[in-house]
């Protein structure tokens, strides 16, 4: 049978999605479903003085109005070990538990009604009086403080480095120093967050938009002081998330409370505007870099300070220093990470959290250094190529970044770039070429899967993972099909249900490296089990054979010595009068992190066209080459990468929360004014995968492939804008006012 891994298999869930048969969280229809709508605070800090709910309660269809005055007091038990997606210290928002307002947009009431429209209308009738307290709503980098112990322990360290930065910097013949600003950004997945909560006696079912059903269950169990076994979370399809659905947000708790109160299943869906307050976002960041190099362009000193905003009630932090710690060879390095507390909802992971930020500063500063050195930006990267992870003192499990640079540069035509800024144009349009490196650390986590071989020749593979869009359904199907020796359409992968075997978080680009290996293990386990049954049987082709004498091959079992036919699984099941046979398998990280450092790499080259008079930048083409280890499915992998390019384009040129400090609020909280790229912004995108197979990292040979795709894109564009115009725009996004200013 031909290899299935590595084939561009079309999404197995594609037909269901385009025909509307895929059921998203909001679409589960339950008898007697009621609808909830939230009332959000309109001040940045203070407390609720009074709530007039009479008009809301009297409105048609209203079943309940709940505020802090009458909401049940919830136990909010501490989780022994916080999952990596949560804030690592402080208290998660205890929703409707007191009269305090911690940020503009904190829920202060929830209304439940017969219809969505009735609930929304009644929510608008709730009158809330507030007493305002002074609030911190202006980002002041000088107020930055180190992250707390919880975050440091979880790898969000306040400081890292090596060598003597000051000494080396003082002696460096070439130095650059710059400050970069990156605004608060919002995920804006097309599917809004939504939860349906359904109590049956003391048991609870949640239909939720989530990237991690197990964590959802655990969180709600702790919030309500319930046994986890009483909660089931169902989430078969997720309409994009980019990290916003990693955590369990307060509205899930609200839905659960509301459903309890009215004794009916309740659906709570956030509006687009509410998404800017009720879930997290990528925090505003400011970073300061100093680079020192010798005349040949070798980095001798590197200093990188990153300051990000954080909410005040809990502490969410990111691994913003990770790329700087190991992307380039440099003996003297100091990086610091600081947080500025503000009265805002809590930030949360958004595609390549922290890393995309760190890469942005580092890769823009490298470009500035190349200019000062009079050196080609690509050449500068090659001179500082890190042959090992210097910070960890470990070799890479694999690194094909050089091949990425070469392949992408060649394909892009980097050689045609004239080094001088403003030197390339077509008519009145300035043309710029820019490049940057991408990196995202590769992690693994433990997980398990089950496989059932059935009498009709199908294999059903299950694990409580998620597929927010990368194509997990498809790639896991391929892994199972190849391992079992079955065609792709004989394998069905099921996910998104806490009743299925445990899966780790669907985030951090870890899913294939973690769960893929569990799927392989489960497939092998079911083959072994079937072989065992066949060998132990009284009759049949393998009856009485020794343990090693039967092997799985070509979709069935055969003799290890190759003699005799291969008997398909289904036929064996029939022969032994079995409806199905099922087994579980799991995979855990091994010793690899002790021996190696692992990361996915990329090189991005972009062309921009700048209309200087109108201040507009367009991007006619981008070429990226990636080392992501083994590629399970080049089609979905390409989708990931071009999606990352589009996200990076938005980051460079369009995305920004327009924050009004007087209200502590994002004012452009809708898709008409918070801009993300549209089709007309996106032209030629090319993603190339350089050959690699990282068995040092995990048996499947894959690395992460999701977050790396957005890293490096924005700095490449900013660098290209410099090349086109001679202007270094150090604050994103690069909008007309910045180019005209």
């Amino acid at each position: 049978m031909n290899a299935i891994i590595g084939q561009p298999v079309s999404r197995v869930d594609g037909p269901a999605k385009v025909t509307g048969h895929a059921t998203y969280a909001a679409e589960f229809s339950l008898p007697d479903l009621a609808y909830a709508a939230m009332v959000l605070a309109t001040i940045p800090r203070g407390h609720v003085r009074s709530i007039d709910r009479a008009a809301a309660e009297a409105a048609p269809g209203v079943l309940a109005v709940m505020t802090h005055e009458d909401a049940p007091r919830l136990p909010y038990k501490q989780i022994a070990q916080r999952p990596q997606v949560d804030a690592q210290s402080g208290e998660q928002l205890h929703v409707l538990q007191d009269d305090q307002v911690r940020f503009n947009g904190e829920p202060v009431a929830v209304v439940v009604a017969e219809t969505l429209e009735q609930a929304v209308h009644a929510a608008e009738l709730v009158r809330v009086e507030y007493a305002r307290s002074p609030a911190v709503t202006i980002f002041d980098a000088k107020q930055g403080r180190p992250p707390g112990e919880g975050n440091a322990k979880a790898g969000r360290v306040p400081e890292l480095g090596r060598g003597d930065v000051e000494g080396a910097m003082a002696e460096a013949p070439v130095r650059v120093e710059a400050r970069y600003v990156h605004p608060r950004e919002h995920h804006n997945a097309i599917e809004p967050h939504v939860t349906i909560a359904h109590w049956e006696g003391e048991s609870l079912t949640l239909y939720d938009k989530t990237q991690w059903v197990d964590n959802d269950r655990k969180e709600i169990a702790h919030v309500f002081g319930m046994e986890e076994e009483r909660i089931r979370v169902v989430s078969p399809f997720v309409g994009g998330a980019f990290g916003s659905a990693l955590r369990t947000w307060p509205h899930v708790t609200l839905a659960v409370m509301a459903a309890k109160r009215v004794g009916r299943p309740v659906r709570l869906e956030l509006t687009r505007r509410q998404l800017y307050m009720a879930v997290g976002f990528r925090p505003h960041s400011e970073q300061h870099l100093r680079l020192g190099a010798d005349k040949d362009g070798r980095l001798v000193a590197l200093e990188h300070d990153v300051v990000q905003q954080v909410g005040r009630y809990e502490e969410y932090a990111e691994t913003a220093l990770s790329p700087t710690s190991h992307l380039y060879q440099c003996d003297n390095l100091r990086a610091r990470y600081r947080l500025v507390e503000m009265d805002t909802n809590s930030p949360c992971p958004m595609r390549a959290p922290g890393v995309v930020t760190g890469v942005l500063g580092l890769e823009m500063a490298m470009d500035e250094l190349a200019v000062d050195l009079g050196m080609d930006p690509l050449e500068l990267r090659l001179r500082n190529y890190a042959e090992q992870d210097q910070q960890k003192g470990l070799p890479w499990s694999s690194k094909e970044l050089r091949a990425c640079y070469e392949t992408a540069a060649e394909r892009f035509g980097w050689a045609r770039r004239k080094p001088e800024p403003r030197s390339m144009r077509e008519g009145g349009t300035l043309i710029g070429y820019g490049m940057a490196t991408a990196i995202y650390h590769s992690d693994r986590s433990g997980g398990s899967a089950s496989v059932a071989l059935t009498g009709n020749g199908m294999a059903v593979v299950r694990s409580a993972s998620s597929d927010m869009g990368p194509g997990t359904y498809t790639s896991m199907t391929q892994v199972a099909a190849e391992t079992l020796g079955l065609p792709v359409d004989h394998v069905r992968f099921e996910l998104g249900d806490t009743n299925l075997p445990y899966a780790p978080v669907h985030g951090g680009s870890i899913t294939m490296a973690s769960l893929g290996n569990a799927v392989v293990a489960a497939c092998q386990a079911v083959q072994t089990k079937l072989a065992g049954l066949a060998q132990a049987a009284q009759q049949g082709p393998f009856a009485g054979l020794a343990e090693n004498a039967v092997v799985a091959r070509d979709g069935g079992l055969g003799r290890a010595d190759g003699s005799g036919p291969v008997v398909p699984y289904a036929e064996l099941l029939r022969q032994h009068n079995l409806g199905w046979v099922e087994a579980e398998g799991s995979a855990q990280p091994g010793e690899e992190t002790k021996k190696y450092s692992s990361a996915a790499f990329g090189a991005i080259f972009v062309e921009v066209r700048v209309d200087e008079a109108l201040g507009t930048v367009r991007v006619p083409r981008m070429v990226g080459a990636y080392d992501v280890g083994r590629v399970i499915n080049p089609k979905t992998a390409r989708s990931q990468c071009i999606g990352g390019m589009v996200g990076g384009l938005g980051m460079a040129l369009e995305e920004r929360a327009e924050w009004d400090a007087r209200f502590g609020k994002v004012m452009n909280a809708n898709l008409a004014e918070y801009l993300v790229p549209v089709n007309a912004d996106v032209a030629e995108l090319e993603a190339i995968f350089v050959p690699n197979d990282d068995r040092n990292f995990n048996p499947l040979g894959v690395k992460g492939l999701a977050e790396v795709a957005i890293c490096g894109v924005a700095p490449a564009i900013a660098n290209a804008v410099w090349h086109a115009t001679g202007r270094r725009i150090r604050e994103l996004p690069i909008t007309p006012e910045r180019l005209l200013g």
Partner: protein, 328 residues
């Protein structure tokens, strides 16, 4: 969202009566649905104008073009007559919104689109236009979208539609039917009002008024014209700044007639008379156009967030005239 009823209307008189009784009109609904969702308007009834038979573009006997109020933006943008004779209008329409929106949105609705001022659209913040007397949050707030021309201390909201800017350059008029059934023509240039101290009053429309049509006079259909729009992304974004230019040269190649109007920068479609005067009677050359365009931002009042619009306006006007004059 406030509860409301829905009623399709069959004739203009019936529609007017409903409006006087508290109904608001819906045409394509592309703005109205947002206004309802954000609780910015609370009509008791939505009276649907789609049954009025007001769609279509026709040529009148004298050569004027009549654009029915219910014509969809996309239909108008694709209309051969309009494209050939009034390029600026077709171009402005093609550069409006997105294909999906353009297939729903109507010309009449476009004239009445409400501002995109961020504070107007968020009920939790003060806004004089939405709630007279509550204050203007944009003056000291996030105002990169707001106006540098035509504002007052009470409001600096931009009228965000592209089409009316082109219509001002074409001397176009709006045909309005009053509640009593009487029809009147209003020049597009006089259709929108300056905010002054009543920013809640945006146009000359009176209760019960219905827009029936837009007319582009015959003389303007013989002009050459052009629209340039600067925006944050390549499509589906309101203008940060736009310029509409219509022009007639005499036999010697001198500017005999010229209209220049700007959008995205002012509280209403903004006629740039001074720029016109600088060029009237002259041959177009690059320097003269550049110097004339500098006058575009005359009288601009800028704030930190929207100061960029002054140079942008000059550049956009210059670009539009140069391109139209074949000098770009």
């Amino acid at each position: 969202m406030h509860p409301f009823t829905y009623a399709p209307v069959a004739d203009a008189a019936g529609a007017a009566a409903r409006a006087l009784a508290g109904a608001q009109f819906i045409a394509g609904g592309t703005d109205m649905l947002q206004l309802l969702q954000e609780n910015l308007v609370q009509p008791q009834e939505l009276a649907d104008l789609n049954g009025l038979g007001l769609a279509g573009i026709t040529e009148e006997q004298d050569g004027a073009l009549r654009l029915g109020a219910l014509t969809r933006l996309q239909k108008a943008a694709d209309d051969p007559l309009l494209r050939e004779r009034c390029a600026v209008a077709a171009e402005a329409l093609a550069a409006s919104a997105s294909p999906m929106v353009r297939h729903m949105a109507t010309l009449g609705g476009n004239l009445l689109q409400r501002t995109r001022c961020l504070y107007f659209r968020d009920v939790s913040t003060p806004c004089n236009k939405r709630q007279p007397g509550s204050g203007c949050s944009a003056l000291e707030g996030e105002n990169r979208h707001n106006a540098i021309l035509g504002g007052s201390e009470h409001c600096i909201a931009v009228q965000p539609s592209d089409l009316p800017v082109a219509l001002v350059a074409l001397d176009a008029e709006v045909l309005i039917q009053g509640a009593g059934g009487a029809e009147r023509w209003v020049p597009v240039e006089g259709f929108h009002r300056l905010p002054g101290d009543t920013p809640e009053i945006e146009t000359v429309m009176q209760p019960g008024d219905i827009i029936l049509a837009i007319r582009i006079p015959a003389h303007a259909t013989r002009w050459r014209s052009h629209y340039v729009k600067a925006r944050d992304r390549a499509s589906f974004a309101w203008a940060l700044c736009s310029a509409a230019v219509a022009l007639r040269l005499d036999e010697e190649g001198r500017v005999a007639e010229l209209r220049v109007a700007a959008g995205g920068v002012a509280t209403k479609p903004w006629r740039l008379m001074r720029v016109e005067q600088e060029l009237l009677g002259h041959r177009l050359d690059r320097d003269r156009v550049r110097l004339a365009a500098v006058w575009a931002s005359e009288g601009a009042v800028t704030r930190p967030g929207n100061a960029y619009k002054a140079p942008l306006l000059q550049h956009t006007v210059e670009r539009a005239i140069l391109e139209l004059g074949g000098l770009a």
